[in-house]
Amino acid sequence: MKFVRPESPEAAASSLGNGSVALAGGTDLVPMLRDGLVQADELVFLRDVVPRGVQSGRIGAGTTLAELEVDPELPQALREACAASASPQLRSMGTIGGNLLQATRCWYWRLRFPCYLHGGDRCHARQGTHREHAIFGNDRCASAHPSDPAAALLALGARLQTTRRELPVADLYRLPTEENRNLTALERDELILELDVPTPDASVYLKAMDRRAWSFALVGVAAARFGAETRLALAGVAPVPWLLENPSALEQSTPLPGTAYKVEIARALVRRALASLPTT
């Protein structure tokens, strides 16, 4: 395996694919390399070419979660989502760009069962142990998306600038289909460079976990109010970060037998999130 330092974001992006994999903070990628979930002949190191830091609402994709969690200019939901992610050590290295693209924690996927996401034809979680899995968008794959900041950015209506285009964060994600099992819509040679985060009137992030720190969300709820409109987005409930049209959309959830409790938790967290937002 080789380690390369590209000269520019374009050079980095165009070198990706065919065994060349992008490396930023490494907190998601390095364990996957070790477990054989990702094969790489070449690691393309992004640190010096992808923007880092926050300037007038634009966040470089190479900014770490630790840097974001303490930036007073950023919306509360994003700060809280970053602060609730992972551990202090991981937040120091993990970038927001990498965090958005992190892989599911579904143990069937991680243990390389020949599941739907791996190109197979069934979701092993459906018949197996699935207490951490999805309540929405789960007819093909029942995995849950683990990113807290992604839910916050979705509620905030953030937009991404990549090496190819500009798009709303919602369009970064897709549910897997028969032809394409990817959960993200990035091209193989496309890099996220910056995020543009609107400033809401108020926002908050709440996260229910299996212990009191350092766990992936059972359910995470981001709420952001822009004038009369409040947007809600959830982590841990679908294969992708999930935008909730309104609280009653939870009644349209499709839980598995073992994830029904997540609907209860989501209901309560949504109610509390909304109640915590100042009304004016």
Partner: protein
């Protein structure tokens, strides 16, 4: 002359808080754990493991692995020089799988290479052809399925006859009239999942061939000599040619009683004639050691209207997994302590452990008593509710007292101050509830920021537990210690203590030094020799809360003999003169329990007992099902605190492991495969999950023990799970018959 060593041992006597003798190297990072060892010319070993829980091995083809870069050896069962099987109590476990694998992760082949990555790559090229077989994964059904061990390795050892398939052991305790009725009866079916010891130091060690066909193995383990006695026959070597040396141990809690890499590393080292180091990664560690037995327990408690227990009936089913390990003793313990520390005239307690293709189970802190305490204390609370009696008062009314007879028929001749422990615990003032509003971090949900107090209910739980101290049922347990007295270069009198007592973090090294300092207070310095099989006889296992008692006894005997000899020589030693004496300490004898009745056949089946009471305050966010353990108070029967700070440390740590079992720890399996073999998916308590533990030490001297000491490691783990869940029941009104309790069991009230 060279200067004395820069770090001087801080010495103190028995009863004082003394800084750990290994504290400084541990805080500087210089302490050598087994995974830190290095030898020139060292190779890295790697173990190939079965991906199936149950399969026939059709063929093993190593031909693609052998020529790979850096590879120096590839070994299979054919390369095992001596006995093909080993085991802690029964040799039912293959060194390397022969024609069948019986659990997920069972070792099948070994590779040694120059770099660990080379070893891993070569391992992936070993082609094992398996014919998967239907795994046996349900303990009850296993009693009617095909035998996993048709030769029944555990029968014929004086245990009760139980001809059902896959029985490792059945024990029945029949006391008084098992059909005695009471005024009130409460029942329940309880379940505990598989808990893992989750010690942080990975299994690891270094095997170094001595150039003459023998081997030195540096390893993190709990019992050096029993390791040697299993390793030697498999290598076809005399015991003296296999020397086990204790390397730094990163926690154990029972998980290092069975062999890990010892035989494997030695085989690779002897084949290559080079040192071989093996270090398991975390996933491998989860599959590579035994776990706590999951259990299903059917219980019925009958009592009179005044709250006196009339009859306890309990049936315990333990899933032992693929190999026996120490399951026969866990089975016995579960039944022996099933009634809890209460006087009961009538009991029928039946405990069965079965073989399955689930992960093998064996020793973990608490050893069978954790499971029955969870069930039994839930039952006591049900009784209290049915009778309208205060739960603490109910326990006091039934508390065992000296002179009472246990359900095994053993009379309590030693110390077991149950009533005092209950009273002292109950008397610890419980803090007023934290007011609202308060920071989310101090509410259920912790750093998830989920509540300002909505839906939070507070509950208080109380539980009492006990178990044996030491080995039982006639096991000839002993500990050797050797003390060498000499005059050093500066003219000081120095005592060097040799004892193979494994320091696993519990602080036994300090015990050895403190005892020597107390018994030989004439010396200027006490040195601790390395723990090894080469220079002293067995110290027995660092388990069963026995090591402080047994090693104190041994060191005290050796010191007394040394002192006597010194007096005989006029009270001083010339330079170059030394006294070197080894002594063996034994506890009062025990005998087996009768296989038909589970009653004592002699005076005692267990050496001694220790108990603990615990009160837990928990807050539950009833909408989300999230828990905060707010406060823990406990009183524990410790006999004598040799080192009070260390005793508190054991109580705090043991309690944390029980909190983990109560709220978050469970090895998940699917058809025998472990699906959560990582710290992401097997959660243990973090710094935010554990409150302070207020602990009262009840020092009621054990008459048969040196200094009156008892072991302290296990009682807090025995009682804490029961106490936490009692608090959750009080907060939610839910039955909570299974642990770990997860948010889905508490949410949506």
């Amino acid at each position: 002359m060279s200067a004395p060593p820069a770090r001087k041992l801080q010495l103190g006597r028995v009863g004082e808080t003394v800084q750990r003798v290994d504290a400084i190297p541990k805080v500087t990072g210089e302490f050598a754990f087994s995974s830190d060892l290095f030898a020139a010319g060292m190779l890295w070993g790697h173990t190939v493991r079965s991906p199936h829980a149950h399969a026939r091995i059709v063929s093993i083809d190593i031909s693609q692995a052998v020529p790979m870069p850096g590879v120096q050896a590839v070994l299979t069962h054919e390369d095992v020089p001596g006995a093909k099987h080993y085991g802690l109590e029964f040799p039912d476990q293959p060194v390397l799988a022969i024609d069948r694998v019986r659990y997920f992760g069972e070792p099948v082949a070994l590779v040694a290479a120059e770099h660990p990555e080379q070893a891993r790559r070569a391992a992936s090229r070993i082609a094992v052809e398996y014919e998967p077989l239907e795994p046996i994964v349900d303990a009850e059904r296993a009693l009617a399925q095909e035998e996993l061990h048709p030769n029944r390795p555990t029968s014929g050892h004086g245990y009760r006859e139980d001809p059902r398939p896959n029985v490792v052991r059945t024990m029945v305790v029949r006391h008084g009239d098992p059909d005695a009725e009471g005024d009130v009866s409460v029942s329940g079916v309880y379940e505990l999942g598989i808990q893992d010891q989750a010690f942080l130091g990975p299994e690891s060690g270094l095997a170094i061939p001595d150039g003459e066909g023998g081997i030195d193995i540096y390893v993190a383990t709990q019992w050096l000599h029993v390791d040697r006695d299993q390793v030697a026959p498999c290598l076809d070597l005399e015991p003296e040619r296999v020397r086990i040396h204790l390397a730094g141990v990163g926690g154990a809690f029972g998980g290092r009683e069975d062999l890990s890499m010892q035989i494997h590393g030695a085989m690779l080292a002897l084949r290559t004639n080079r040192p071989v180091k093996i270090v398991y990664n975390r996933q491998e560690s989860f599959v590579g050691h035994i776990h706590r037995h999951p259990a299903r327990i059917w219980a019925e408690h009958r009592a009179d209207r005044d709250g006196k227990l009339k009859c306890v009936r309990m049936r315990i089913l333990l899933d032992g997994g693929a190999y026996a390990s120490s399951s026969t003793a866990v089975t016995s313990n579960a039944a022996s302590f099933a009634c809890g520390p209460y006087a009961v005239e009538n009991a029928l307690l039946e405990s069965t452990c079965v073989y399955t293709n689930n992960p093998p189970c064996g020793a973990m802190r608490g050893f069978g008593a954790v499971q029955t305490c969870f069930a039994g204390e839930a039952q006591m609370d049900k009784l209290a509710a049915a009778l309208g009696v205060d739960p603490v008062e109910l326990r006091l009314r039934n508390a065992l007292a000296p002179g009472d007879t246990l359900p095994t028929g053993q009379k309590l001749t030693g110390s077991l101050p149950v009533a005092e422990v209950i009273r002292r615990c109950a008397a610890i003032p419980v803090p007023e509830p934290d007011g609202l509003p308060r920071d989310a971090i101090r509410l259920p949900g912790g750093s998830g920021n989920v509540t300002r107090g909505e839906g939070v209910r507070r509950g208080v739980g109380f539980a009492v537990g006990f178990k044996n101290i030491g080995y039982s049922e006639g096991f000839d347990d002993y500990t050797a210690a050797r003390v060498r007295l000499f005059t050093d270069r500066s003219g000081g009198l120095v005592a060097e203590v040799h004892c193979a007592a494994a320091e696993v973090g519990q602080g036994v090294s300090n015990v050895l030094v403190q005892v020597a300092r107390t018994e030989l207070d004439i010396v200027d310095d006490v040195l601790l020799a390395p723990h090894t099989t080469a220079t002293v006889d067995s110290a027995g296992s660092a388990s069963a809360s026995r090591m402080t008692w047994m090693s104190s006894g041994a060191v005290r005997l050796a010191c007394a003999a040394v002192r006597e000899e010194l007096d005989r020589r006029g009270g001083s030693l010339d330079p170059g003169e030394e006294i070197d004496i080894e002594r063996i300490y034994r506890h009062p004898r025990t005998t087996p329990l009768d296989p038909e009745t589970g009653q004592v056949t002699g005076e005692r089946a267990h050496v001694a007992f220790a108990c603990a009471a615990m009160r837990v305050v928990a807050e539950v966010d009833t909408e989300l099902g999230l828990v905060r353990v707010a406060w823990i108070g406990t009183a524990q029967d410790v006999g004598k605190a040799l080192n009070p700070q260390a005793v508190h440390g054991q109580i705090e740590g043991g309690t944390a492991q029980g909190v983990g079992l109560a709220l978050m720890e469970e090895i998940q399996t699917e058809d025998g495969l472990i699906t959560n073999a990582s710290f992401t998916d097997y959660l243990i308590p973090t710094a935010l999950d554990m409150p302070r533990v207020v602990a009262e030490l009840v020092e009621d001297a054990e008459p048969d023990a040196p200094y009156g000491v008892k072991g302290v490691g296990e009682p807090p783990t025995v009682v804490s799970t029961a106490a936490v869940v009692a608090a959750l029941r009080a907060a939610t009104g839910r039955e909570l018959a299974r642990v770990p309790v997860r948010p889905e069991h508490l949410a949506g009230l």
